[in-house]
Each structure stands twice: as structure tokens, then as C-alpha cells.
């Protein structure tokens, strides 16, 4: 049969370029990142000198790195807990019909649509040490008597980072949960109403269990977006004050790109991989679980 009718050849020809691109520009750099972490490469030279675990032993002895690792975990977990609560609640609100819902949805989606860096710069202004509108409001309402240097104190700065991360991810999670809600078979929900379940019982005993895979997907993406995000911390605090609010991406950037120590930067970034593997495995499990129920990934 001619080429124009050979599905196998056409399939390979159409898939080939994308596959080659992904392998060449994602797969190879990924491997290169791991290799670099075992080398003493610098941005200026092209040679790769094998130094074994030297980079790892250096950063593991570095309190700034350990702090960044801890901060990454705190920010990721803290913001995602907030996201779950906010998104589940927001989804319950936004599934209902009310006046002005379209406009409300538009506003709700704003944090997710705006570029991270621009959102972060707006928050930097909101948290400004002199002009913070939050401080003004807290003082006027009598909740604050002293002064909060939001981005100037390590604890407060981490808290601010968590707020910004949760703020930017929860709209995305809300929309995913809403999609999940709309796919819950209506007859199951109606059956529970007929069976006498009230709002809360229905929510916790019927809907949330059915929504679990969807919430899991939202959280897993949220984890990836937060743990690997550079923009928010870079712009909000730059890792300061005194390197106390670094997360892995900002520290990797500082050492690897600004400091031109590619090996150490790569080693720091490699600590993101366990986060990603956990996420990937959990996602596969969610997908497989739904595969059983839904007759295949992407099944309709």
C-alpha cells in the first residue's frame, strides 16, 4: 500500500517531530541536569569535570540550603492545605446559581490568569514596608498596634509567600473541583437527598468521596506549581532577609546562574525531583483508578 494509506507510517511521521523535540529538549537536559550536579561545571567553561558527590556534600552542609529545603516543604504544604480548603469551599459557592456569577467567575480566575511575576510585584507593593495597605487596614480596625514588616522578617515573609501561592493556585483548583462536581452522576446525589441526607452529610459522605480523585489532581498540580516556582519568592523577597526565605528554585538560580556554579545549582535543583516523582506516581494511580471506573484515560 502507498505511504498515503499506511496508518503506521503516517502515525510515526506525525508523532516523530514532537517526540524528538521532547526527547532532545526535555529528556536530554533532564539527564544533563543530573550529570551537572556531579560535576564542577561553571557557566564560563565548557568542560565537565566529574566531582562525584562533592556538590551534594557541600550543599548538605550548608545551612542556607537546608533552610531552603525546609522552606520549600513549608510553603508547598502550607499553601496546598489552604488551597484544598479554599477550593472545596469556593466550588460549593460557585456551583450555585446567583446574580452576577459570570462577573464573579471572571474575578475568581484573575489570580490564575495573571503572569506570576506581575502578581508577585503587585503583592510586593501590597506588603510594602511603608505603604502596606494591609497594615493600614489592620490598624484602623484596631487589630494591629505595632507594625508588620511583611517581607522583612523571616517568619512573616514565609507566611506572605504561602498566602500568595495559595492565592494564585486556588482559583485553578476551584475550577477543577467544579468540573469534578459537574461530573458526579446527578442521580447519585438525588438518591442521597431522597434517602434523607442534608447538605453537610451529602457533602462529606457522598460528594467529597466521589471528588477525591479530582481534588487529588488539583493538589498534585498545585504541589508542582508551588514547589518548583521561582517567581513569587524571587520577586517578593529575593530569598532575603539574609537568605532566610530561599526555596530550592531561588537558591539554585542564585548559585547556578548568578553565581555561575552550574554544578551546585544543578545539585540544588535535583532535590526537586523527589517531589516530582511522588506527584507523578500519585497521578498515575489516580489515572489508573479512574481508568477502571471510567473505561480509560480520557474516556467519555
Amino acid at each position: 500500500m502507498k505511504f498515503a494509506d499506511r496508518e503506521d507510517l503516517l502515525g510515526a511521521a506525525m508523532l516523530g517531530p514532537a517526540l524528538a523535540y521532547v526527547i532532545l529538549l526535555v529528556g536530554v537536559p533532564f539527564v544533563l541536569a543530573i550529570m551537572l550536579s556531579f560535576s564542577s561545571a561553571t557557566a564560563g567553561s565548557l568542560t565537565l569535570t566529574w566531582v562525584g558527590f562533592h556538590n551534594y556534600s557541600t550543599i548538605l552542609a550548608d545551612p542556607i540550603f537546608l533552610r531552603a529545603l525546609r522552606n520549600t516543604a513549608i510553603v508547598t504544604i502550607g499553601s496546598q492545605v489552604l488551597v484544598i480548603v479554599l477550593a472545596t469551599a469556593a466550588a460549593q459557592v460557585f456551583r450555585a446559581a446567583f446574580h452576577g456569577k459570570r462577573a464573579a467567575r471572571f474575578v475568581l480566575l484573575l489570580p490564575w490568569a495573571v503572569p506570576v511575576s506581575l502578581a508577585a510585584i503587585a503583592w510586593t507593593w501590597i506588603f510594602d514596608s511603608t505603604f502596606s495597605v494591609i497594615n493600614w487596614t489592620l490598624r484602623v480596625t484596631g487589630l494591629l498596634h505595632g507594625w508588620l514588616y511583611w517581607l522583612g522578617e523571616p517568619g512573616l515573609a514565609l507566611f506572605a509567600i504561602i498566602i500568595v501561592q495559595a492565592w494564585r493556585i486556588f482559583p485553578f483548583a476551584t475550577v477543577i473541583v467544579l468540573a469534578g462536581l459537574s461530573s458526579i452522576p446527578q442521580d447519585v446525589v438525588e438518591a442521597s437527598i431522597v434517602d434523607g441526607a442534608g447538605f453537610w452529610r451529602r457533602l462529606f459522605k457522598v460528594e467529597l468521596p466521589l471528588l477525591l480523585p479530582v481534588i487529588a489532581v488539583a493538589v498534585l498540580f498545585g504541589v508542582v506549581y508551588t514547589a518548583t516556582d521561582l517567581g513569587v519568592v524571587y520577586i517578593l523577597t529575593g530569598g532575603g532577609p539574609a537568605n532566610t526565605t530561599h526555596v530550592l528554585p531561588t537558591l539554585a538560580f542564585q548559585r547556578g546562574v548568578l553565581g555561575a556554579d552550574l554544578g551546585q545549582g544543578a545539585a540544588i535543583a535535583v532535590f526537586l525531583v523527589p517531589f516530582l516523582i511522588v506527584v507523578a506516581v500519585l497521578m498515575l494511580r489516580v489515572a489508573r483508578r479512574t481508568e477502571v471506573g471510567a473505561g480509560g484515560i480520557g474516556a467519555r
Binding site: A4, D5, E7, D8, L10, P17, A18, Y21, V22, L25, V26, A33, L36, A43, A90, V93, F98, A104, F106, V107, L108, L109, L110, P111, A113, V114, P115, S117, L118, A120, I121, A122, W125, I126, F131, V133, W167, I176, A179, G180, S183, A216, V217, T228, D229, L230, P249, A252, G256, V257, L262, L272, L276, L284, A287, T290, I297, G298, A299, R300
Partner: protein
């Protein structure tokens, strides 16, 4: 839910989500003497215009900064990345859904997972690759690297979309006299047009938003994109011009938000990967 708590809750979420944008808006149009009043002064209410609004910051943004240059750079990168992404991801997604057979789903999943590998892991090896290619500090670096984010996700999106389009029209065309290839070239694009449009919009929004690679590869102010230039380079001396900054953030966010509102459901179908039955 009862009406009053419902509206109260909705209002709460809207205030939380929208407050920074209100703050961008009010900052962008406030006169400086209204803007720079320390928050210690509890008699001056920062939430409202105490003096008449002004277009001064906007004029400054468009007249005396590189903002328009960054917009032009961003649009250039968008056009190039959209072309690359459509050219790579649309055929690949179609192939995975229709031609490759039963391995299509798993292969698609594999490609999708590379979307999870973040820029913050790859920017270090890339900084070396880009230097080797002599692309440092050029938009070419961004055009080369941005498809690493868009191609995996969009291949997956297109695969899901093509699967949801009934097969029979393409088969009918094969019976009516077209070869498989002719069907792919002349019939399929019409049928999957909404999927292609989704790819274009996703790529557009991604390029508008990307920060990490731009920060890593671009150092000259006149080659920056909007998402990099506004927070990094919109500073004169070492003074932040908050009015112009917030105006830039606002003007960039609004078109993106409109696009998002139109296409969010399609994006979400990609993210939920079948955890939601469509």
C-alpha cells in the same frame, strides 16, 4: 445553600481573589501625593481616590519606558512559539489518538508527564545549551525553549480532543475517495479546529506568563518580555514607580483574564486527565 450566606461567601472569595487587582487599578491612576502617604497615617484612606485620578503613570509607562518594546518582543515570541507548538503538537496529538493504535494512550501519558518537569530544574542545563548555541540574551533562546512547556501539554490536549471527535466523518471521507493522508490534511483540521484554537490560546497565555527562562536567558532590557521587564526593569534608578508598574500589570492581566475565561474549561479537560468524565 441559603441566599445570604451564599452571597457573603461569594463576596469573600471575590474580595480575596480580586483585591490585588483593585490595588493595581487604584495605584495606576492615583496621583503621587495621594499614593505615597505612609500607612502609619490612619486618617488618609488608601482604598479610595483622595485626589482626582490621573493618567500620568500610564503616560509615563507608554512614553518613557520600554513597555511597548517588551509587548512587541512578547508578541514576536508568541507568534513563533505558537507556530512551533501547533506544528509539533497537533500532528502528534492526532497521531496518538488515531494512528498509533493502543500504545497511543500510554505514549501520550508519557509525553504529558514531561510537562511536570519544571523550568527550575531545566534552566541550569539549558543555560549551558543556550550558551553553546550562541543564543544567550536573545529572543531565539525563548523561542527554542518555550515549546518544551507547550508541546507536552498541548499534545495531550489535542489527543484528548481528537478522541472526543467521532471517527466516522474521516472514515466516510476515506470511502468517498480520499487517502488517509488526504483525510488528515483536508478533512481533519476542520473537525479539530476548536482543539487547535485551544492550543493557540494556551501557548499565548503561557508565553505571556513565563518568567523563569526569560530571567535566566535575557539580560538586556530592550530584549525582555513583559512578564520579565515589568517586575525587573521598570525601575528608574533604584526607585520603583509603583503607578506605572501597576498600570503595566493591569494592562497585561486583563486580556489574559478574558482569554482564560473563554478557554478555561478546555484547559481543565487537559489537566484532569480523565479524572473527570467529560
Amino acid at each position: 445553600m441559603k441566599r445570604v450566606p451564599l452571597y457573603a461567601a461569594a463576596l469573600g472569595f471575590i474580595v480575596f481573589a480580586g483585591f490585588p487587582f483593585y490595588w493595581m487599578f487604584i495605584t495606576a491612576f492615583k496621583q503621587n501625593r495621594d499614593l505615597y502617604v505612609g500607612a502609619f497615617d490612619t486618617r488618609h484612606v488608601p482604598w479610595i481616590f483622595n485626589d482626582p485620578p490621573t493618567l500620568e503613570h500610564v503616560r509615563l509607562l507608554f512614553g518613557q519606558t520600554d513597555f511597548l518594546r517588551w509587548v512587541a518582543n512578547t508578541l514576536l515570541v508568541i507568534v513563533a512559539v505558537v507556530i512551533i507548538t501547533v506544528a509539533l503538537a497537533v500532528p502528534a496529538g492526532y497521531s496518538l489518538a488515531r494512528l498509533v493504535g493502543r500504545w497511543g494512550g500510554r505514549l501520550g501519558m508519557g509525553i504529558f508527564f514531561t510537562y511536570l518537569i519544571p523550568p527550575t530544574l531545566l534552566f541550569i542545563p539549558f543555560s549551558r545549551v543556550i550558551a553553546l548555541l550562541g543564543l544567550q540574551n536573545s529572543l531565539g533562546a525563548l523561542i527554542l525553549v518555550y515549546p518544551t512547556i507547550t508541546v507536552p501539554f498541548c499534545t495531550w490536549l489535542v489527543m484528548g480532543f481528537v478522541r472526543s471527535v467521532p471517527w466516522d466523518i474521516e472514515e466516510q471521507a476515506m470511502i468517498d475517495g480520499y487517502s488517509r493522508l488526504a483525510v488528515i490534511i483536508r478533512i481533519a483540521p476542520r473537525l479539530i479546529l476548536p482543539g487547535i484554537l485551544t492550543v493557540v490560546v494556551f501557548t499565548f497565555t503561557l508565553v505571556m506568563q513565563e518568567f523563569v527562562y526569560a530571567l535566566t536567558f535575557i539580560s538586556s532590557v530592550d530584549r525582555m518580555t513583559v512578564s520579565l521587564g515589568v517586575p525587573i526593569a521598570l525601575v528608574r534608578g533604584d526607585v520603583y514607580h509603583w503607578g506605572s508598574l501597576m498600570a503595566a500589570a493591569l494592562f497585561t492581566s486583563i486580556p489574559l483574564a478574558i482569554l482564560y475565561n473563554l478557554f478555561i474549561d478546555r484547559f481543565i479537560q487537559g489537566f484532569t486527565m480523565g479524572a473527570v468524565k467529560g
